[in-house]
């Protein structure tokens, strides 16, 4: 395990894309200390911002400190494990294809932006645009699992095209907007306009006081879908806390968004 203790005191953004388990596992400590990072527009050696110790050979990295100003942690990673013992900045796990990231604190915006595989677990809160597409993209996240224990902001799962996303706390507006495929589940309260322009896929709103849906959604039935129980068990096996009442609750199934393709569904917990 390679430990990187953040020692910088700056509000200018630090960007660390490229610093992945695959990139460092074959490097010596001296080489890692010289690894190019960016502090605003300056290229700086890693050692200027981090104290490092340990051995990268097992493809496991541990960041320590408040890295709220450090961005692109785990971006494009394909294997290995990253733990952030503290907060993390923007674009955590952006475009990753494999491996596991745990943030034992809060993360900022764009957690798992256009993710293609792997697992991200934020044990605190996340910002806006979790598992989302970047501006202009015809599709966003395509595979992988994102778990947010706490709250998330707006546009969770924007233009998602498969994958599994779960938010334990509350989320903001437009969850699952433009959803193409995949599953987004929110266990806390949720903001307005969920699943706007949804094409296919599933959005689950399991918190108290679910919002009213847009006029272009149609209630179809109330049931206890088996597939949901399987997903909930899967989430628990990944270390995500699922409220027990979700297993046997009744769910209203709503079809839409009929303004778009309209083959998606929203599940709203009724009891």
């Amino acid at each position: 395990m390679l430990t990187l203790r953040y020692k910088a005191d700056t509000t200018v953004p630090v960007e660390v894309e490229g610093l992945t388990p695959s990139a460092v596992r074959g490097l010596s400590i001296a080489e890692i200390q010289r690894f190019d990072l960016f502090h605003g527009n300056r290229k700086v050696p890693l050692a200027e911002l981090f104290e490092i110790s340990g051995d990268p050979a097992d493809a496991r990295m541990e960041f320590e400190g408040d890295l709220a100003g450090v961005h692109w942690i785990g971006a494009q990673m394909s294997e290995g494990e990253i733990h952030v013992r503290g907060n993390a900045g923007r674009h955590v796990g952006s475009e990753m294809t494999g491996g596991v990231i745990h943030v034992h604190g809060n993360a900022s915006d764009w957690v798992g932006g256009e993710m293609h595989g792997g697992l991200i677990h934020v044990h605190g809160n996340a910002g806006h645009l979790v598992g989302s597409a970047y501006r202009g993209s015809a599709k966003g996240m395509t595979a992988g699992v994102i778990l947010i224990d706490g709250s998330a902001g707006n546009e969770v799962g924007l233009t998602m095209r498969r994958g599994l996303l779960a938010v334990g706390g509350e989320c903001g507006d437009f969850v699952g907007a433009n959803l193409i495929a995949g599953t987004v589940l929110v266990f806390g309260p949720c903001g307005n306009r969920p699943a706007a322009a949804m094409r296919r896929g599933t959005v689950g709103l399991f918190g108290a006081n679910p919002p009213s849906l847009l006029v272009s959604f149609r209630k179809s039935c109330v049931c206890q879908p088996t597939f949901l129980r399987l997903i909930l068990r899967h989430l628990e096996s990944l270390g995500f806390a699922v409220p027990s009442e979700c297993y046997n609750a009744n769910y209203g199934i709503y079809h839409g968004d009929h303004v778009a393709v309209g083959r998606g569904e929203i599940l709203i917990r009724e009891n």
Binding site: T11, V12, P13, E15, F38, H39, G40, N41, R42, G69, R90, D109, W110, H128, L129, Y134, R135, G136, E155, D173, F174, A177, N192, R193, A196, A197, S212, L214, V215, S216, H258, V259
Partner: protein, 442 residues
């Protein structure tokens, strides 16, 4: 004894500059006749109340061309100091740009490139969300002459052009006797949608006073009606505050129009939903083209904010919020936009051109700006110029300087300046800063 000659005050003749351009708002009216006497504008024929305040509000002043830490200095000293601030910074931002010529904007972007900084314009606090929506779904639009010649159903959504763009109705959208709308106003139906009754509402044939922050629901109702999706009347009333039957009537009119136009403002882009509100509107316009011709136009505010969009786009590929820290352009609204880079304390220096963030940004943003060294260019003295490390008093575009501006519909128009000024132009100051920055960066 000879009597001394009686000297009469010399009457200098007044000159009239015809077809001059006003840059106060996005209308960019180019039919103003300006009368100039003794380097004062004494008349601005056809200018609206905003235009008149623009033209009459320019008197020669004797403020220094440059102030460093509030003390008068030479432009050369200011340029040197500015260049050092910008080249030493690790996250410098270049912001503003909307109230200056495209020639100056081009140099500002060049500076942003040279200092590996972030270039952003006032678009990001105005119609930036519309730009983002455009990137999501596209846009169906036209030049303003098409509105005047063809538009027969004109919808104003979330804006108050009667007060923000006073000549818009008469010049472009409601009054003109157009080629296919020969009876002008009589051939048109005007519809307003807003959360309160403004002066604009009074000029409308139909007015929809929707519940605050329900623009998205209203647009979604219209989208559903366009596609003949059945909707629950009670829910529509609850969501929007307007009966379904009224929305249905509007949709019927929209489908029956020959050339529908929706002009929209900050009521849509700056309320909850923002770019997704804009996206809903742009999508509605696209949907409508299956039935009839339909276009939208964002009502741009400042005179050359459209120029800023265009310049930043052609030079970098992205319209605003462009970061060049890594030596190449990156775009991400919410990350590289100025209200964010300031409020989060990321920017460590700034070059502010023709804007006043100290007056209108959030508290954390203003606090950060106060704490970092920044350069401000402005013809006026403002809260922003007063706290600047280096402040340049520059000539006013369109009044003192020539140059190109872009109207809200992207039509480029050249300025005919009326008055001379002792101050340097934005273009001169920025060019000097760019030269020095380039030397320092070698």
């Amino acid at each position: 004894m000879a009597t001394p000659p009686i000297t009469k005050p010399i009457e200098s003749p007044a000159t009239v500059i015809t077809d001059a351009t006003c840059t106060f708002c996005g209308c960019v009216c180019d039919d103003i006749d300006i009368t100039v006497k003794d380097n004062h504008i004494t008349d601005a024929k056809r200018a609206c109340v905003l235009g008149k305040s623009w033209f009459y509000g320019h008197a020669a002043d004797d403020r220094p061309d440059c102030l460093i830490e509030g003390q008068p200095a030479s432009v050369a000293e200011g340029v040197e100091r500015a260049a050092r601030i910008l080249t030493e910074a690790r996250y410098p931002i270049v912001y503003g740009l909307s109230d200056t010529t495209s020639e100056a904007q081009r140099v500002a972007v060049a500076i942003g490139d040279a200092i590996a900084g972030t270039v952003d314009t006032t678009t990001s606090v105005c119609h930036g969300p519309s730009g983002m929506a455009f990137q999501g779904v596209g846009e169906v639009t036209c030049t303003l002459g098409e509105v005047a010649n063809r538009g027969d159903l004109i919808i104003f959504w979330g804006g108050n052009p009667a007060e923000s763009h006073p000549r818009h109705f008469s010049k472009y959208s409601l009054m003109p006797k157009g080629m296919f709308v020969p009876n002008g106003r009589k051939d048109r139906t005007a519809v307003g949608v807003d959360v309160r009754k403004t002066k604009t509402a009074k000029a409308m044939d139909l007015f929809f006073q929707i519940k605050p922050r329900s623009d998205f629901e209203a647009l979604w109702t219209l989208r559903a009606l366009a596609k003949s999706v059945e909707v629950d009347p009670e829910q529509v009333k609850r969501d929007t505050g307007i009966e379904l039957s009224r929305w249905q009537d509007l949709m019927d009119r929209m489908k029956a129009a020959k050339f529908g136009v929706i002009l929209f403002g900050m009521g849509l882009t700056m309320t909850r939903g923002k770019h997704l509100n804009s996206e809903a509107l742009l999508s509605l316009a696209r949907d409508m083209n299956a039935f009839t011709r339909f276009v939208v136009k964002p009502m741009r505010g400042h005179g050359n904010v459209t120029g800023a969009d265009n310049v930043v786009t052609w030079q970098t590929g992205y319209p605003f919020g462009v970061n060049m820290s890594r030596g190449y352009p990156r775009f991400n609204p919410g990350e590289y936009t100025t209200s964010d880079t300031l409020a989060r304390g990321e920017a460590d220096a700034a070059l502010l051109v023709a804007c006043d963030p100290m007056a209108n940004f959030s508290q954390p943003a203003r606090e950060r700006l106060q704490s970092i060294p920044y350069i401000a260019l402005d013809p006026k003295e403002t809260p922003t110029t007063r706290s600047a490390a280096v402040a340049f008093t520059t000539a006013t575009y369109g009044i003192n300087t020539p140059g190109t501006v872009y109207r809200m519909d992207d039509v480029p128009i050249y300025l005919r300046p009326a008055l001379s000024s002792t101050h340097p132009t934005d273009l001169e100051v920025l060019s000097a800063i760019h030269r020095r920055v380039t030397e320092l960066k070698k």
